[in-house]
Subunit: 541 residues, 2 copies
């Protein structure tokens, strides 16, 4: 590998002279611009390489001593990194929430990096600050639909905040619950508030044993991180069982009352607007009633499903979200923005003030610096990507994208239902669904068998699903993910299922049929399948 | 503005067909590639536009109903956003920590967005996971310099973590202190640990009144956010006075002991490796001794100064950093990586396990998914930018960049010292310095005047500095920032100073001389200057 000259003159060039247009890096860039699908299919290697093999290329812990030429480095990036990355644009990789992005984000990302703004304060972001506030206002409007006067008053107010732009949904959830916590344990006579005095003092002042957070077992893992980081404790995450994948309002009310009667304070109920595992939406409107009755905060984690609000046909699925005190939406999910665009929205523009912070040289009192109420400090101009997407797609464009995803999921559910050897486990509410491979005869047997036999069959089927998922992934043509779910039919245990996210607009019905066919072919070649067909599954496996 | 066609066919095009090479967006991209300085000087308007005026362009809170053509949108981005953004590449904008970036980050950012990996798990990032671990290992190595066997053992271990990649220094500081907190209040017989049982239960179990965090008054505002979010309370941030800009070890020891004797537990001492306001470095080695004596965690916030370790000549300024339990370094500061690249490093690779989290469908036990120990969930592939920079610059390249920054700061300090009407307030330790404009006669007067007169003079000078900074910013040619500092000469109050960060490699000595000349010209035209010269400053202003 070439060793570049170490001189200030050389370094100055790196800052002032672009790469030659025939250079390797310029070629990569051109290929990305001309045809990203072709670039990815040419450079991302599909054959199985073990993680251990890949790690060999990233095993030196020493900082390289000497500079390397950009072009030889670009060559090595292609070989070592791009070759073994994941082709998230592939229409047959439907196992995760990242997908193809619209082309315009490629040049825009260059513009964002070129401008290199820092949104923590106006001094280093200027127009990006009102832009980000407008983006948060538009998303607030989408969720809460307040009147024109409301937005005129609050959109650019230095004393208010309609939301916080974050690196992702986890920080958005933590931010929302941080605000909820500080609001619930705020200042009173003789107590300066949890923000200043801390959690233990707050518990003493308010006379509570514990603060709790309620959600269903399908609540996102970030909630567990949140209760840990915020000092509430993971044991106080009341994750209620949900065999039907959603939080039952009557269960929530009952558990909430019992919790309060034991001398605890319920901080918040979190309703999920599209669970990560199955895409189910909690009954938000009823949960808002429950939160109201219990006197707690209501947060909706709509990181995935929030964009459904763009669709006139499907926005009713999130009915009640407008009653939430705070809402999380990730633009890098169904809004097709590059990774790094989470948002926490606040119904009441006063609420973020409970975490407001000022300093001498930055975030001065009365300034509009965004960093005064965000958990993060320095942040990039990712809000521009959301702004541009909102304009280039418009509500109607997003509506089409959302509608086609949901309809594609319905179509895939139909394919699975019609196929004798597959079993649909959860019906798509949004664009996610789960299913498993299961020979027709076994499906029939499961309906009549005794518990012991059901358990034995399910254990074999679990193994089969794990195996098929793994072999399909390794074959490299397509990818679905897997998870374990409690489901109504098998109350005593969970089953392993394929999990599919139909977000990529490039995925066709033909792709879906091919994925199913491949899974069937793989499954029927396994010994588990043979055993199931032969009735040789063990009752005590 | 054109209304784009709303059809699935049109939307599909946005995902599959690049913009035509003559389109506006392609032109913007080409201009950025060819000559970013020219692009910025052509499009970023330097004349003063008030924030209120800019807000007019971002005042509509409604989501646009119909799609817009990419090209007409690009046109409007230029007019409304780029025109009123901050030219962070400008060599005369030396008031903040963002600067020009090397050219190669432009195409790399496109590659990063094009690959759209999600580093929360291997499934959606594959080679990016070992790459990020290697980057963290290299930075760990730079700080801690452990032996080869250490890195062989831990770099890719699923059960260990050398650090956490974060969106920025604030999240890195919070992550480090989260780990410190969970480690300090860990599980014992009869107590499941603060992570599970929460902070109030932990205080009861450990029999402590409060948990405290110690730093100097120059500690970053993120520490205040951290103690709030982590439930410790802002009152427990023991920010000690530091008229000499650094935390005195004897003060820290004394305050720490007093705190402990009052029934409190000191969680951590935070040493700063380059304060945001003056670039001073706390006496890290001595503070490590103090932390040792007090039995608490030692964290070093080297978000700004960490990169000084690349320089053989100056790395001694951070002596003692290798004794820190955790260290924060931002690659988007002196490593010239785009915004969004913070890192928290852990001396002991076991420690991050106190925040480890598993879930069914992700971050499974035994997996190497990075999301298991980071505060954030979904994250982009920014580690690639750090990886590439480490290779393209190499240690020796970074050394040159660091050395020239520090030397430039020294040169500027000399210029200020030589100028009769300027007063250097803090000498540069790294590449930051502070100073103020002050007529020669007044400098002499300050040395002999009584306290009342000193106060009156300083109040007038404060007003002068604020005014000059504002007028210079509005003139649009150059930008320095300002802050308020306690300084040894004026024990009863703070003074307002110009703050300069000499990070931009494009800044020349000529630029610095011009900035000083402009400030002098502006200052001498003000009425405050005239009053000072005429001895008309009020003693009771």
């Amino acid at each position: 590998m070439g060793e570049a000259q170490v001189s200030l003159r050389h370094l100055y060039r790196v800052f002032t002279k672009p790469e030659h247009q025939d250079s390797k890096l310029a070629q990569i860039e051109q290929h990305l611009s001309d045809n990203i699908l072709d670039f990815l299919s040419q450079h991302v290697v599909t054959k199985k390489t073990s993680l251990e093999e890949i790690e060999q290329d990233f095993s030196d812990s020493r900082v390289p001593e000497s500079p390397e030429f950009v072009s030889s480095h670009a060559e090595s990036l292609l070989d070592k990194l791009v070759a073994h990355s994941v082709n998230t644009y592939s229409p047959t990789f439907i196992g995760h929430m990242t997908s193809a992005l619209p082309y315009f984000h490629l040049p825009l990302s260059k513009l964002m990096v070129g401008l290199n703004q820092n949104l923590v304060k106006i001094e280093t972001s200027k127009a990006f600050t009102p832009l980000e506030r407008q983006v948060l206002g538009m998303m607030h409007n989408l969720v809460y639909d307040e009147d024109e006067a409301f937005y005129q008053r609050y959109l650019h107010s230095a004393l208010h905040s309609l939301g916080a732009f974050c690196s992702g949904g986890t920080i958005a959830n933590i931010t929302a619950l941080w605000v909820a916590r500080n609001k619930a344990l705020g200042p009173q006579k003789g107590f300066a508030g949890v923000s200043r005095e801390g959690l233990a003092a707050a518990y003493r002042h308010y006379g509570i044993n514990n603060l709790g957070l309620m959600c269903s077992k399908r609540g996102h893992y970030s909630l567990s991180k949140a209760v840990d980081a915020l000092g509430i404790g993971r044991q106080q995450l009341l994750a209620l069982p949900c065999p039907t994948q959603t939080l039952k309002p009557e269960d929530a009310l009952k558990a909430g009352k019992a919790y309060q009667e034991a001398g605890n304070q319920l901080l918040a109920i979190v309703g999920v607007g599209g669970t990560t595992e199955t895409g189910h939406v909690d009954p938000l409107d009823e949960l808002a009633d429950v939160a109201n009755e219990l006197g707690c905060w209501f947060h909706v984690d709509a990181a995935w499903g929030g964009a459904t609000l763009f669709s006139k046909q499907y926005r009713h699925k999130l009915k009640g979200i407008e009653r939430a005190d705070s809402v999380t939406i990730d633009a890098h999910k169904q809004m097709y923005v590059p990774m790094g665009a989470g948002m926490a929205l606040f119904k009441d523009p006063e609420n973020a003030n409970v975490v407001r912070h000022h300093a001498q040289y930055i975030l001065r009192e009365g300034s509009k610096d965004l960093g005064a109420t965000t958990l993060e400090g320095s942040r990039n101009g990712m809000a521009m990507m959301v702004y541009s997407s909102l304009h280039i797609f418009g509500r109607r464009g997003y509506e089409l994208l959302i509608d086609q995803s949901i309809e594609k999921a319905k179509t895939f559910a139909d394919m699975i239902n019609r196929h004798p050897d597959f079993e649909l486990i959860t019906t798509p509410t949004l664009s996610l669904l789960t299913y498993r491979v299961c020979p027709k005869a076994i499906q029939a047997r499961l309906k009549v068998a005794a518990d012991d036999e059901i358990n034995a069959l399910n254990q074999t089927l679990d193994r089969l699903v794990v195996n098929v998922q793994k072999l399909q992934r390794e074959a490299g043509k397509s990818f679905v993910s897997r998870t374990r779910l409690e489901i109504p039919g098998y109350p005593d245990r969970s089953v392993t299922v394929f999990r599919v996210v139909l977000a990529n607009p490039l995925t066709t019905h033909h792709d879906l049929a091919a994925i199913l066919a491949e899974q069937h072919m793989i499954a029927s070649g396994t010994s588990d399948w043979q055993d199931l067909e032969d009735g040789k599954y063990s009752l005590t496996a």
